[in-house]
Amino acid sequence: MKDDSFALAGRHYKSRLIVGTGKYRDFAETRAAIEESGAEIVTVAVRRVNITDPGKENLLDYIDPKKYQILPNTAGCYTVEEAVRTCRLAREAGVGDLVKLEVIGDQQTLFPDVPATLEAAKILVKDGFKVLPYITDDPVACLRLAEIGCAAVMPLAAPIGSGMGIRNPFNLRIILEQAKVPVIVDAGVGTASDAAEAMELGCDGLLINSAIASAKDPVAMARAMRLAVDAGRTAYLAGRIEMKLYATASSPLTGLIR
């Protein structure tokens, strides 16, 4: 296969895997896992600086913004205002205008608040942001977000951190067939085969955090996810065989001894 680069918000990336930086034991492990993952885009959260111990090491001492596209998220925001405010602070902090929009609707499920997400996306797009919205696997919500001008849509595969995998591949298939912007599966992936399955469905990219950071061996799982995304994408482009209920011999029927 020739060039199969991933175009997102005007840039091209080699890797279709986007990784988060939460839940690691320490920054060294974070860096090691991210390097192993091959990711070029890395999500981060926006939080108050530590006043009591300001000298303290910072994530960006380990994840070089010159090397990685930093993708600030609005995790923890439950209102349009909080989410918009967080994006503006992130942009001011100087990592550009690409943001991962999350407007959470409920603490138990961390599912998005669909109307609030649409409203925040409108404001942010008008404000010049390149918006990657976290959303339910709702084809209609995805259509609306594309109409609003989001750079991609990020339907969830399952609840954040649940590791349940792609609970509803049918909705994803519909979203992909209707999509006019890249579709990046966000949240729910638990293991490598889930990642491969998402890519085989035709997803453009995949965002993973917990499945890597909370694995027994995060660096090894980062490698597994890199391989799985590559495997799934390659299989998608290679064109899989049809499914059949019955068998088809793989050895010839002629020339058998009698």
Binding site: T43, A45, V46, V49, I51, P54, L60
Partner: protein, 70 residues
Amino acid sequence: MSTKFQITLNGESYAVSDDDRLVFLIDSLKLKRGRVAVEINREIVPKANWDRTRLAAGDIVEIVNFVGGG
């Protein structure tokens, strides 16, 4: 240096000294300029304005940076 007045910094009371310029606060906190953003009373203060921006008693100041997240 004697305290001049109090502000609320990241949700906690904070004593500002004679030098009430925002830039001084940032530096005294040893923050890397390129890595943080500042809000005063809900208004973002662009880096370009940090030198000339002065804090006032009771200001609500938020200084944020990036941390690990998914």
